[in-house]
């Protein structure tokens, strides 16, 4: 964490600014394409995400049961069943199909991961752009705010916050967005400081473009890849955080997530029964999504900051 911020201070190749407005997104996507072509790990990460996205979309087709459906046979719950052809990963202590929970959990994880990533990247980018462009007291105020966000213990804060509002995945996402913009904001700001000195920005200023026009049409396109980088790192963080919050019992009680499954397993003493089929799969799923986020982030870093590639 410490050195990432420093590394970014020495950005060598700022991406080419897009002069014709409107196609900022296209340009950012071009960088994504470049990353995938050049970096094997980023490609693996992307494949992992595509795999999970497909599972999430087709969850109702793949999963034989509903995630909270209690399976009965002649009025008796089929609880704590070992894996079988009917229940590939066995059943929970309440007679729910673990495999179906795992499949549906993908939806929750991706929903939380992507929405938190978008919220974090959006807030961070906006803060960074405004602080970097305007400078002065606006900059100082926003950066002190980032200091405060850095000083607040992340998970405990989310727990306390979630205790006051309805436990729902959206509140967890909102709580994360409230704190995690800080990394993105700082890095984007320092990049904006570099970009705003460039000739084309001065030219735009001289030709009378408004501040907002300069920020969004001239500066934003060249820092958008950085937003993607921090967004992709935030996906993993968000999935992990939701899992931890759910595991501690503050998650959405109606939404099955991988953290929810592990809490269930923990509370019903799956460890002492050595119910590996219940404990292992959700953890692997979390690990894979978080790792995929790391891989994609690393790929971006290597393309955006070639200095690192030597190592």
């Amino acid at each position: 964490m410490l050195n990432r911020a420093e590394v970014h201070e020495e950005v060598i190749t700022a991406p080419q600014p897009q002069r014709r407005g409107g196609s900022a997104l296209v340009q950012a996507l071009r960088v994504v394409g470049e990353v995938l072509q050049r970096d094997r790990l980023a490609l693996i990460g992307t494949i992992i995400y595509i795999f999970f996205i497909l599972i999430a979309i087709f969850a109702p087709v793949i999963a034989p049961y509903g995630p909270l459906e209690v399976i009965e046979e002649e009025g008796i719950w089929l609880a704590n069943e070992e894996p079988s052809a009917r229940f590939p990963l066995g059943t929970t202590n309440l007679g729910r199909d673990i495999f179906s929970q795992l499949i549906y959990g993908t939806r929750t994880a991706l929903l939380v991961g992507f929405s938190a990533a978008i919220a974090v990247a959006f807030t961070g980018t906006l803060v960074g752009l405004i602080a970097g462009y305007y400078g002065g007291w606006i900059d100082r105020g926003l950066m002190r705010l980032a200091d405060v966000a850095f000083g607040i213990p992340f998970l405990p804060f989310i727990i306390v916050l979630v205790a006051f509002v309805e436990p729902s995945i959206w509140n967890i996402v909102a709580a994360m967005a409230l704190l995690l913009w800080r990394d993105t904001g700082r890095v984007i700001r320092s990049q904006v400081l570099v970009v705003k000195e460039k000739a084309f920005v001065n030219a735009a200023k001289l030709s009378g473009a408004s501040n907002w026009r300069i920020i969004f049409l001239y500066i934003a396109p060249s820092i958008l890849p950085l937003s993607f980088l921090y967004g992709s790192l935030a996906i993993g963080w968000a999935i992990m955080t939701e899992a931890s919050v759910s595991f501690l019992g503050f998650g959405d009680p109606d939404v099955v997530s991988w953290g929810f499954m592990l809490q269930d397993a923990f509370l019903s003493q799956a460890m002492s029964r050595e119910a590996w089929y219940w404990i292992i799969p959700p953890g692997i799923a979390i690990m894979l999504t978080v790792m995929a986020g790391f891989f994609i982030g690393r790929g971006f870093e290597e393309v955006l900051f070639p200095r690192l590639r030597r190592q």
Binding site: L2, N3, E9, P153, I159, M271, I286
Partner: protein
């Protein structure tokens, strides 16, 4: 140079205070503006009328909000967080009693993590380009991506339930009572309870020092003095450990102080998996039981420890690497 450091540290100190003040204010607003009874922050409906009156005046709950705020700040400075709803004891006493356990766990796991991380980083840098390095980096990435509580559950299943080598929960066996902190720290029982949670945390935390150490080593290995050393016929081992590692260690040490701050917030999950009687478990239990004063106190103490550790990290940073100077870091 001396003056710059003083200014740097002074600024940092004021910033730490600012952070604490903002946290305290957020908490105040959060607990007062919470839906339902505004008195909920301190008064449980089951308290007797006398207790309620006493708390009303102690926290100025019958006063307007700004006055309450001043009373609140004054009480906090004196360490008065109110009384726990369920344990019927001052929150300050409860949290200070569990604070040492959290610190012991954090420090033990960090020391473990940094020993593994530094040695592992040296080895991986030395073995660069080999299959062993690939495997090591992959393993570290996996431990950093795996949820801590899940790793804890697996270790519990293996070592506590299957092999029955280690206790599964708590910080002491049933019936064992420690007469003092020293008594606790010198008891074998305590350390047996420490092994699993500390290992779980260390498995997660070792990634940062390991990757940092490795990349520092790789960078320094390209420096001229290493090539020189090679020409002068020093053995590879001696070069690595005596010259390269020594120089690569500095940033890792600074990162460690920062790590204390981060892991204090992060070991909430671990304390709950292993029933470790620390701040994190106290916080989670208080929040689930709607024990607002205790939740507030536990959260605040976690925040204070974290802010203090971050300040300490900055101090080390400024002292060890005066090149960095005040301006660059405070604005980055």
């Amino acid at each position: 140079m001396g003056r710059r450091i003083t200014i740097y540290l002074g600024t940092r100190f004021l910033q730490s205070l600012l952070v604490l003040w903002v946290i305290v204010t957020i908490l105040f607003l959060l607990f007062r503006l919470a839906p339902g009874n505004p008195l909920v922050a301190y008064i449980d409906p089951t308290f007797t009328a006398e207790q309620q009156d006493e708390l009303m005046s102690r926290f100025g709950l019958d006063q307007p909000l700004p006055v309450q705020y001043v009373v609140y700040l004054g009480n906090l400075v004196q360490g008065d967080f109110g009384d726990s709803f369920f344990q019927r004891a001052p929150v300050g006493e409860i949290v200070m009693e569990v604070l040492p356990n959290t610190l012991y766990l954090t420090l033990t796991s960090l020391i473990l993590a940094y020993i593994i991380g530094v040695i592992g980083g040296i080895i991986l840098a030395w073995q660069r380009g080999t299959a062993a390095e690939q495997a090591g980096v992959t393993f570290t990435l996996m431990t950093r991506s795996a949820p801590e509580f899940w790793v804890g559950m697996i270790l519990l299943a293996i070592f506590a339930f299957r092999l029955q080598w280690l206790p599964s929960s708590g910080a002491s066996s049933a019936g064992v009572i420690y007469t003092s902190e020293l008594d606790k720290l010198t008891s074998l029982d305590f350390w047996q309870h420490m092994i699993l949670p500390a290992t779980t945390l260390a498995l997660y935390l070792h990634g940062l020092p390991l990757l940092l150490m490795r990349s520092n080593m790789l960078e320094i290995m390209q420096d001229d003095f290493v090539t020189m050393g090679r020409f002068m016929g020093y053995s590879e081992w001696r070069l690595m450990v005596r010259r390269v590692a020594r120089n690569a260690l500095l940033p890792v040490v600074t990162a460690m102080a920062l790590g204390i701050g981060y892991s204090i917030g992060g070991n909430v999950v671990i304390e709950n998996v292993f029933g470790w009687p620390g701040l994190g478990r106290t916080l989670v239990r208080a929040v689930s039981a709607n024990d607002y004063p205790l939740a507030q106190g536990a959260f605040l103490l976690i925040a204070v420890v974290m802010v203090l550790m971050n300040f300490f990290a900055d101090m080390l940073y400024g002292l060890l690497d005066p090149r960095i100077g005040a301006t660059e870091r405070s604005s980055s």
